[in-house]
Subunit: 325 residues, 2 copies
């Protein structure tokens, strides 16, 4: 089985590549080749039981994509994106990568001899609703930001392309993924990971929202589980509707902090930030996710496990990066 | 007030141009110039109290659009489209005109000194649901055809562009407009107009569905009313959500036939067509349309009036066209 990860150098792309390298197979079939494609040449997993190609290129460049997606490709993970804050800051860049990039993926798929499975990472940012909302499976996407609009458009494109048989898409509307390694950044969601990650590194963190503020989250391990499931699931039961609200978890800041060791918890202070509050208060904090459960998508693990997995998978690397960078 | 109609040579574009020419004003303000833009040079209304430019060009051609939308433009009616059956038959053509055409309109609007009002004609074809459905105002669009997908994408683009202040859009999800002049054609919806139009011309017509089959319709006069209202309404109450399900009417074939004079009614015969039935049975037959009513969109007039208006506005011209063509 030939697999390509577009955006294979990013946070989730690297996690996914590492998992594939560890397993060597997908749903019982051997992985025979993996291509990692990103703006900069992605760093491949250290060891893998199959050859890995790493390519640098732009997802909007059709020639580069043709190289990244050879004719035998059976599964494409389309994770390449300009994320939320960047797409809001630079409309043209967001449109280019998130809209025209997805169009280029669609065009490339049409040249393949067999319609590939495409796993597309959409986002809860395509929904509004706010703290009080419990988004049902047929909830309408009325995005409050350009990134969310571009993701909702990507879903419509891939849905119609699936109906026409150009490809076979599953669009996962990812929750906010935490704990994200790296540094605090300007994204409004930065605090969601920072209030766990920084204290675990022994560093102080500030929380800009109240303790009872709730977020719809998943762990990177869970996101990867969902990607693998979406890559091989039977898509017939999906019918026309290729959009999935996966079973994440609605967690409050208080619950997040309770998952930290006590000495770490004391490193978090509450410093209200009305700008951030104005943005994040529009995010829906919970989804019913009944359809995804019925379709076989697995449940988000408890927060204590999320924290343990971060310590296991990412703490050392994050610490090392901070020390050198 | 400078106004441009893209698709100004089409069925509804011509009706809209004629109405503007008759009124000379929009919401109390004088129309000072009208541009009609279409693939072929549109035929302007016979008389108008303002200058009319007629331009031939492609809506995907940015230079042609810049010409069609001069800097002073305050209102753009974006009606240019490859319609349902054609967009299904030719995916690339539909994408080109319905997606990239709308992107070109968006880009052109960004060059104007003041964000123009854009009235966009979306379609009930962007919804599924079928005969039993009563689509609520927050109903999700899961299109069952490429045209519907492209219209839903157009809405998302214009909605986000409105939020960013590039333009100020109102997207009207038009019902099936009847009575459409012209000849019966291959569109699955062709019969909706044909069962009224053909008998009124003294010609036989066949109906491919049962008598109790219901369609969500509006008249061309009503569509034009909604266009004019959308062109000047206060958009603040719309918030992020620029999509409108206007108050059309759910009518059965039996009700349609009952609106015909008795001698005309006898010209309609029922010849079941399972191919057409399979397509049209997926169309939602009714919408709540509460939000549109609250926002001030006017009510669809009764069917007898729709028939009378067709006789008044279009019967002679349709007859003449048949005689010569
Ligand atoms: N992490 C989250 O919380 C979250 C939540 C919802 C959705 N998502 C989506 O999941 C996917 C992966 O997210 P992530 O957290 O790994 O993000 P990331 O930013 O770490 O990875 C995205 C990758 O795409 C690459 N990319 C950007 N522009 C490109 C271009 N023009 N050509 C090729 N590659 C390009 C980037 O270089 C980056 O490596 C994205 O599509 C994102 O929108 C993530
Ligand atoms: N009539 C209906 O029942 C109905 C229902 C729902 C939505 N709509 C929408 O309302 C609008 C008007 O519908 P109509 O019934 O007048 O359709 P129409 O086909 O009569 O008019 C559309 C016009 O767009 C023009 N056009 C097509 N491609 C173009 C291009 N590349 N550049 C410039 N012009 C181009 C066509 O030449 C045509 O004159 C369309 O956007 C349609 O999708 C119509």
């Amino acid at each position: 089985m030939h697999i390509t990860i577009l955006g294979g150098g990013g946070f989730l792309g690297r996690k996914l590549a590492a998992r594939l390298a560890r397993e060597g197979q997908l749903d019982g079939r051997r992985v025979t080749a993996l291509t990692l494609f990103d703006l900069n040449t992605p760093v491949p997993p250290a060891e893998a039981p199959f050859p890995i190609r790493t390519l640098a290129g732009d997802v909007t460049d059709r020639a580069a994509l043709a190289e990244a997606i050879p004719p035998q490709t059976e599964v494409i993970f389309h994770l390449a994106a300009v994320v939320s804050a960047a797409a809001e800051a630079d409309f043209d860049l967001g449109m280019k990568v998130n809209l025209h990039g997805t169009l280029a993926v669609l065009d490339t798929c049409r040249t393949l001899p067999k319609p590939p499975r495409v796993v597309f990472t959409s986002s809860v940012a395509s929904f509004g609703g706010g703290q009080g909302a419990m988004v049902p499976d047929d909830g309408r996407q009325v995005p409050a930001n350009s990134y969310g609009a571009q993701k909702a458009i990507g879903e419509l494109l891939l849905q119609d392309a699936s109906r026409r048989g150009f490809l076979d898409a599953v669009c996962i509307r990812l929750p906010t993924v935490m704990v994200r390694p790296g540094r605090p950044n300007k994204a409004a969601s930065s605090f969601v990971s920072a209030v766990l990650r920084e204290p675990l590194l022994g560093l102080p963190a500030t929380c800009p929202v109240e303790e009872d503020f709730a977020v719809w989250i998943c762990s990177p391990r869970r996101a990867v589980e969902w990607f693998l499931y979406a890559a091989t699931m039977d898509t017939a039961p999906l019918g026309l509707d290729r959009g999935i609200n996966p079973p994440g978890a609605s967690v409050s800041v208080a619950q997040m902090l309770a998952a930290l060791p006590q000495e770490a918890r004391r490193l978090v202070s509450f410093v209200p930030d009305t700008t951030i509050q104005a943005i994040v208060s529009g995010w829906p904090a919970a989804f019913t996710a009944e359809r995804a459960r019925r379709l076989g998508f697995s449940e988000q693990e408890p927060l204590t496990e999320v924290v343990r997995a971060f310590i296991e998978d990412d703490l050392e690397a994050t610490r090392a990066e901070r020390a050198t960078g």
